[in-house]
């Protein structure tokens, strides 16, 4: 699988990221780093513990990572989450479906990247 194919499968913008980061090699290098990024886990546990500040920072970091790598699909759901959590807003029932959406997109993204990683 090429990096471009990986991007297409996970609903991300390969041309966009390539134009900014300049080389396919660099895109791949940083894409693989997403596997080590802990902000998704931090988001989940923080929400479970109702630590809203920490949850916001985690969602914000996740969103930032997606933005830099043009992971558009996961960016949309994590950005929505970050906006919901901004300013220490209280926990609410509306968060659960949002988190489900983030989870779905995150899992898709991660599985694609893992597949790419295995083929190297």
């Amino acid at each position: 699988m090429t990096v471009r194919e990986c991007y297409e499968t996970m609903g991300a913008d390969y041309d966009g990221v390539l134009s900014r980061l300049r080389t396919d090699e660099r895109v791949k290098k940083f894409l693989l780093k997403v596997l080590n990024d802990k902000s998704y886990e931090l988001l989940c546990t923080s929400l479970k513990e109702r630590n809203m500040d920490e949850a916001f920072r985690a969602a914000h970091t996740l969103k930032g990572v997606c933005q830099n790598l043009s992971l558009d699909r996961l960016y949309v759901s994590s950005n929505e989450m970050a906006e919901r959590l901004r300013g220490g807003q209280a926990y609410g029932e509306d968060i659960e479906p949002m988190l489900e959406k983030v989870e779905e997109d995150y899992m898709l993204t991660i599985s694609c990247i893992q597949q790419l990683a295995q083929e190297i």
Binding site: G16, V17, L21, K33
Partner: protein, 688 residues
């Protein structure tokens, strides 16, 4: 190694972001041109800025971070003034306008929004760094030009006023004194009151103007000017014209008549002989009618005239001068100025005359002019900040230097100048700045000239990688010879092709340690009863001579013991035995030369090792017969074996063994004589 070298010249960028991914991405985009430092939050960034503020060319700062976020970081940077020297670019994913505005208000220069685009990141980073560097450079250029201009002005005024001084048959010191006194009095006056329309930044200008106070003397004939005796009334009348004439000269500079320097100069020239009670000349002004600058200079003039030697009088002491001025014996002055004189009295008494002797104090001069410049130019915040830093460092340095009770010094090669720490200067009884240290009481006094040359040579011989010199010297400090340890580090200029520019270092008194050490050394090397060397030390010295001394190895070793010594102990007691040993040791010392090696190698066993030129038997015979004799009731008789170093190829153990074998054979054959080792004795000991 090479990357390390290269990194040293790269500009440093500090990336502050909690997401490792973002730091890595930015670092990846920038690390080929910059050295990257990373911090996970504002707290870590502050720690880095605390120590490396001056080295960091740019900071990339995220907003949303744990522990200390971007805004808090900016607040800290403002509080500490770091924001003035480190340009900041925001890199947050936040694009809410209120955030962006707030960031700009806090001093951020640019904003890079996500997602990061390599070209954008690099361009923004480069242009921001260039902008900041340009600004710094411009500030420095302006500062340099101001300094240069100020120096030229001061120089011209000094030349001009010295002209009058020299005609007056005096050195240029009076002008210098007036300048210093005026400055001290004005500072004190400003401290007391703001009733006069002057501010701190006027002080340098007034001091310059003060230097011109006697410029009118140019029109006074030199017979009158330099007349040793009392002036006649007519002569005095001519002398008095110098005030109005000086003022006229300045008034004639029509092109500059509105310049503060000319205006103040006019006031000072014309009215520095007025009296507060209205009885002065030329206009008989009274009290506050006399401009304050002229009042100050009048007082300075009188103080300096009294404390200096003139053709018609000796110098009065500081105390006497103050007394005379206060009693109104030398004019009438504004009471507030007399208070100022009181306030600066200690400074004048303790420092005034050393100040002028050591007026060569470049650091202070430059720093003060820079201070004045900065005060004068409100815009130069960057320099003000640097000065705060300098001031801070200076205080810190002085405090620690004072605490440590060490002589600390700074040495520069061109111009050759040595600067001592305050404590160090006091301790050595030298001024803080020592020009031409080689010829001074430091390089030729405290140090012996040879030692000082050696130290300087050692420093010159260092490299930037091994810059430290650590040596002990005997220094002459206030009439005492003290062992002192000098630890110094050479200083280098430029990174590409470093040039030696001087050194910094300290001098620690290690006299007591050295003495203790050398006592221990003496103790370890000598036999406590006789003061002769012990066997180990004798061996050490002989081995050294055998390997590095006479290449032909013309040395002999005599090994001997006392016959029937046991009887002396048995019959007369051990104390008597010790006395015999001491007596023999003394005889050995008396009958050998100081560079012979003499040792007590065992209970009643001794060793003499000596050089000879052609023959050896006569010396041996002489020493042998001198040793033989009577001590009280005990007749001293010895057995001696002798070996020659040339026979054993210079090996100590063989030499000793041969002497020992010869001695053994003497003892075996009835004692009481000496014998040289020869081949027939070979292995006599081992065969037994």
């Amino acid at each position: 190694m090479q990357t390390g070298e290269k990194n040293r010249m790269k500009k440093k960028i500090l990336i502050v972001d909690d997401a490792e991914m973002n730091r890595a991405l930015l670092s990846d985009m920038l690390s080929d041109e910059f050295e990257i430092l990373e911090a996970e939050n504002g707290m870590e960034a502050s720690a880095i800025l605390q120590t490396q503020e001056q080295e960091i060319s740019l900071m990339l700062l995220d907003i949303v971070m744990p522990v200390m976020d971007g805004f808090e970081t900016l607040a800290v940077m403002n509080k500490n003034g770091w924001i003035k020297s480190v340009p900041v670019i925001m890199i947050s994913a936040e694009t809410v306008p209120s955030y962006v505005d707030r960031a700009y208000d806090l001093g951020v220069l640019d904003y890079i929004s996500r997602p990061f685009d390599e070209r954008t990141v690099r361009r923004r980073v480069l242009s921001t760094i260039m902008l900041a560097a340009k600004q710094k450079e411009l500030a420095h250029m302006v500062m340099d030009q101001l300094l240069e201009k100020e120096k030229d002005n001061k120089m011209m005024i000094e030349i001009l006023s010295n002209l009058v001084e020299f005609r007056n048959g005096e050195s240029g010191l009076h002008v210098l004194h007036i300048r210093t006194l005026t400055e001290l009095l004005l500072k004190s006056l400003l401290h007391k009151t703001d009733q006069y329309n002057i501010s701190r930044k006027d002080i340098p200008m007034i001091c310059n103007a003060a230097a011109l106070h006697d410029i009118g003397k140019i029109v006074v004939p030199s017979e009158i000017l330099n007349k040793p005796g009392r002036l006649t009334n007519e002569e005095f009348a001519i002398m008095r014209t110098h005030a109005a004439e000086g003022a006229k000269i300045l008034r004639n500079s029509t092109m500059w008549e509105n310049e503060p320097l000319i205006e103040t100069g006019y006031q000072i020239c014309r009215w520095h002989h007025e009296r507060y009670d209205g009885r002065g000349y030329p206009d008989g002004l009274k009290g506050e009618q006399i401009p304050i600058a002229a009042q100050v200079v009048a007082l300075a003039d009188v103080y300096d005239a009294l404390t200096s030697k003139r053709v018609y009088k000796d110098a009065y002491s500081h105390e006497k001068t103050i007394e005379m001025i206060k009693n109104g014996e030398c004019g009438a002055f504004n009471p507030i100025l007399l208070e100022c004189l009181d306030d600066i009295s200690d400074t004048l008494k303790n420092e005034f005359h050393t100040m002028e002797e050591n007026s060569f104090s470049p650091q202070k001069e430059i720093l003060e002019s820079v201070e004045q410049m900065v005060v004068a130019q409100d815009g130069l915040n960057m320099s003000e900040r640097t000065l705060h830093l300098l001031e801070h460092e200076r205080t810190k340095y002085q405090f620690f230097a004072e605490l440590s009770q060490e002589i600390q010094f700074e040495y520069t090669e061109t111009p050759e100048l040595l600067i001592l720490s305050e404590w160090g200067a006091r301790y050595l009884g030298l001024p803080e700045a020592v020009p031409n240290p080689r010829e001074s009481a430091f390089g030729n006094g405290v140090f012996s000239p040879e030692d000082f040359e050696e130290l300087l040579a050692a420093l010159t011989a260092t490299t930037p990688k091994t810059p430290v010199v650590d040596k002990n010297y005997i220094l002459h400090i206030k009439g005492h010879e003290r062992w002192s340890r000098v630890i110094a580090r050479s200083m280098w200029d430029g990174e590409e092709d470093p040039a030696y520019v001087g050194a910094i270092g300290k001098i620690v008194d290690v006299h007591d340690n050295m003495e203790r050490l050398s006592r221990l050394e003496v103790m370890a090397a000598h036999d406590s009863l006789t003061g002769l060397l012990n066997h180990a030390e004798a061996r050490k010295r002989i081995v050294a001579l055998l390997s590095a001394g006479d290449p032909e190895k013309r040395y002999i070793m005599m090994l001997f013991d006392l016959d029937h010594f046991k009887q002396a102990n048995d019959n007369y007691g051990h104390l008597f035995g010790d006395e015999v040993i001491k007596h023999v040791a003394k005889t050995i010392k008396d009958s050998t030369r100081s560079d012979d090696i003499t040792a007590r190698t065992g209970g009643d066993e001794f060793m003499i090792f000596m050089a000879y030129k052609t023959t050896m038997e006569p010396q041996v015979k002489r020493i042998y017969s001198q040793l033989t004799g009577q001590y009280k009731d005990f007749s001293i008789c010895i057995s001696m074996g002798i070996s020659c170093a040339k026979d054993c190829g210079g090996d100590y153990d063989t030499l000793y063994h041969m002497a020992d074998e010869a001695l053994y054979s003497v003892k075996k054959n009835g004692r009481g004589t000496y014998r040289f080792y020869d081949e027939s004795l070979k292995d006599i000991l081992t065969d037994e």
